[in-house]
């Protein structure tokens, strides 16, 4: 739920953003967008599975975005659309992440109950 709110806040910020992105940066933004989308879905998945680690998530987010930007830059220097590599990889992983999220959410009720219990317990402990 919080993820959705974050997404909406970001979209609102993008709409209200007073400057538009120069066209020569548009490719980098697109590559970065895919990397961020992949990371967000990956983070959501690992949180559902309960195997989330902050270090792995942050290093993956920043590293993937960096490599995507680097590939785009290199591709423009070489005259070769290398950013397509990032597009393909992130696109494939998005489907994989979605499949795992789907499975996680649709698997047997006891497991889901357990996750909710964990979350409730976590909130209780934090409020104390």
């Amino acid at each position: 739920m919080l993820e959705l709110i974050g997404l909406l806040v970001g979209m609102a910020a993008g709409l209200l953003f007073p400057w538009s992105i120069p066209s020569q940066w548009s490719l980098y933004v697109a590559a970065g967008l895919l990397a961020a989308l992949d990371s967000a879905l990956g983070g959501f998945r690992s949180r559902l599975k309960g195997e989330f680690k902050l270090e792995i998530f942050l290093s993956g987010t920043l590293g993937n975005a960096g490599i995507a930007a680097f590939l785009t830059w290199l591709g423009q220097r070489l005259g070769l659309p290398l950013y397509l590599a990032a597009v393909v990889v992130f696109g494939t992983r998005m489907f994989q992440n979605f499949a795992e999220i789907r499975r996680e959410l649709l698997t047997s009720k006891p497991k889901r109950d357990k996750i909710e219990q964990d979350v409730v317990l976590g909130q209780d402990k934090d409020t104390k």
Binding site: G6, L7, G14, V29, L33, F44, L54
Partner: protein, 248 residues
Amino acid sequence: MKMRKRGELAVVVVCAVVGFLLTAQLRTVRQTAATDDTSAARLETLQKLYNESLDKNEGLEQQLTQLQNELAAYREQAGSAGSAEEALKNEIEALEVSAGLTDLEGPGVTVVMTDSTAVNVTGDEADYIIHDSDIMSVINELRSAGAEAISLNGERIMATSEIRCTGAVVTVNGRRHAAPYVIMAIGDSATLYNALTMRNGVVDVLGQWGITVKVTANDQLFLPKYDGAIDFRYAHTALPEQEVEGGE
């Protein structure tokens, strides 16, 4: 459990970044598409305007021919009326000949000028092509030798004609002509020929630059008339008596 909270925050932040990039990129793409559309529309408008002015130009040319025919008919009528009008008509015809408004034929010379075939040693292409000044010196020499009518690539040289360098071509009477340049002049063919080909004359000098100038004497040349309109907007005849005459 504090880890969990921070992890959630990180995912939310990344989600916010996704949303921000998504909308910002969408806006940029939409703007680019809009500017592409406007430039395409502008191109279309300009093309339409160009076509319209082409059509208009064609129509005006037709109108000009028609009016010239009408004028000829009026003169015919005026000529048949009496001896005074006959004299005026003859004068108009004589003036038209010197103004370049009638097709002319007679003996003369043909000068064909082609760009230099010499090896380019200076590295500057402009040293080896024919310039407007080269053409003007030939025409000046022809006039000096008594040429009565001159044309360049079929374009009649009149009193108001310009010969001007416009890039790789020259403009005469507002129309562009490219090499090879064919100059035809009606006059005494022997005099014209000798005037051009004399030692240290125009042909000799141009030949030193490697420009090929071929002069041939002809028994019969045909020079087309100037087919545009002559329009004096600023100059007016000074004497009132002549104004009456000119108005005929």
